[in-house]
Amino acid sequence: MKGNEAIGEAAVRAGCRFFFGYPITPQSEVPEYLAKRFPEVGGLYLQAESEVAAVNMLYGAGCTGTRVLTTSSSPGISLMSEGMSYIAATEIPVVFVNIVRAGPGLGGILPSQGDYWQATRGMGHGDFRILVLAPASVQEAADFVRLAFDLADKYTNPVMVLGDGIIGQMMEPVDFPEMIDPKSFPEKPWAVTGCKGREPNILTSLFLDPLVLEQVNVRLKKKYDRMEAEEKRWEEYNISDDMQLLVFAYGTVSRIVKTAIDDLAAKGYKIGLFRPITVYPYAYEAAGKVAAKAKLLMSVELSTGQMVDDVKLSAPGREVHFFGRQGGIIPTPEEVGNEFVKLIDSGGKK
């Protein structure tokens, strides 16, 4: 199944029945799939007039307590960032998928990891964070969509699945879990559903009293601290106590790196991989422990090195090397492997 279609089906299986979005390459197969699939299960696909409208439809739908999804790609996500800030401030659980394409600006339509900073730091104005899951396969994309809905509900917070363009476009076998009946979800007492038998619910992100707003900021920070304590996810691959090199890579790039590691292992090179699965929260401590076992550190990305800062935070004081391709170019395992060998053989000299 194509990654974008798997994302759509995973949302259906997770009990999501509403999608609001706007077409943009390379994620349009998600809305196309759901436009066909939702009528079979009593769901609704609605094409908005823009990403700005789509994110606010998502916001409204989320306020009624239902599971709701939007998907977009980089320029569209930028347009949604206004709504993202409001949704996070109002603490509404919604799920976003960003099938990242190369930027900045209109950029191109080929795969990229150039939205790492945006996803992990700069998702909108104000003091807020969203949980970000980065799948490396179509199976993980599907799994993480379901997980994203669960985490969104758990933290009443937006959650994003951050997939580079390869995730959306490649075809792989996928196993789906059983369908969750949307009627089986517990009621959300904060939702706007009509005030029969209770006081009216008001969902707002406006707090004009600075003392009240500060309390909101403090409460949100506590929630993010809880996410950082409980939700860090990562994968370790080929870790040993005397690694010549530890590579940091996330998403599909991690698979290219694994192939390169395996190829070089046959030639006697000892290289490990640390793959962050949640890119926010980032597993700094776990990464630091693994980094201590390696002589050299390197980040490999489809960007100009946006994750390097997080690697440095994992291993304070250590030099972090970088290799990446941009513009939508995907390096081959040989290309990546050559960079590893060059670095190791030079003893870390550039």
Binding site: M57, Y59, G60, C195, I202
Partner: protein, 260 residues
């Protein structure tokens, strides 16, 4: 025996509002609340507050409410109404919110025929931000960002929302009422009642535009403001029903529903 002949609608909370003296928002709030009461829909109503003077409307209405970002109330209302068609959803928006920053959202919500109700307060100025030029500011009208009066050669002519939206093919109820003359108020309520009734019946998108006054930012006493609305606004913003869901569709359409 004493009979109560006038009381606060249940749909309005017993709290002071922040609106300026002479402002018509208060009466408009009351009319909406009366209609929610009379149609017995308060308990399934969800309001969507705008950015602008009515940003705190959720503190005054006694029903579920959400607060939208600037101009996006119709998109939020779409998300609510589409996921819960049983709810009665209304937005309450001013002219800057609806006719400037939210033009795309209101236009496409109307065009999709979203079955919620829009309360549109047109007082020809940005109130909350302190009297800047609005898309509905009259030619020559002075505002803080057009200190020499609105210059149509640069700013264009004021936007007539009812006229624009009623040009769309999708059936809708589009009406303009006035809050600056006593006779306008019962007529405004009648229009509001019709708008909400169409929603209760699941028939169509509805928008009621209220020609309103802003004595504070117009720099006029309330009576003078009411007179100015009559002399300078209403000739350009005529009070009438622009569109009803019973209007015939334009020729050339094969079926009413379209599609299959």
């Amino acid at each position: 025996m004493v009979n109560t002949i006038f009381s606060r609608p249940e749909s309005l909370r017993d709290v002071p509002t922040h609106y300026c003296p002479g402002c018509t928002h208060g009466i408009t709030h009351r009319l909406v609340a009366e209609v929610l009461d009379e149609l017995n829909i308060r308990e399934r109503a969800v309001g969507v507050a705008p950015v602008g003077c009515a940003v705190l409307a959720y503190n005054y209405f006694n029903c579920d409410f959400v607060e939208a970002s600037h101009g996006r109330a119709p998109a939020m209302a779409t998300g609510i109404k589409r996921t819960r068609p049983d709810l009665i959803v209304f937005t309450y928006q001013g002219d800057g919110d609806l006719a400037s920053i939210g033009t795309a959202e209101i236009f496409h919500a109307a065009n999709r025929g979203e079955k919620f109700t829009v309360i549109f307060v047109n007082n020809a100025i940005y109130g909350m931000t302190g009297g800047q030029m609005a898309p509905t500011t009259m030619p020559g009208q002075v505002a803080t960002t057009c200190p020499f009066g609105r210059d149509v050669s640069s700013a264009g002519y004021p936007v007539r929302v009812c006229e624009v939206l009623s040009a769309l093919t999708t059936p809708a109820y589009i009406v303009r009422v006035k809050m600056n003359e006593p006779a306008g108020i019962p007529a405004a309520k009648k229009a509001l009642r019709k708008a909400f009734t169409y929603q209760v019946e699941g028939r169509c998108f509805s928008l009621v535009e209220f020609v309103s006054t802003c004595p504070t930012n117009w720099g006029m006493k309330p009576i003078k403001a009411c007179e100015w609305a009559t002399s300078d606004m209403i000739p350009y913003y005529p009070i009438k029903e622009f569109k009803t869901p019973d209007d015939p569709l334009p020729p050339g359409l094969k079926t009413k529903e379209g599609g299959k």
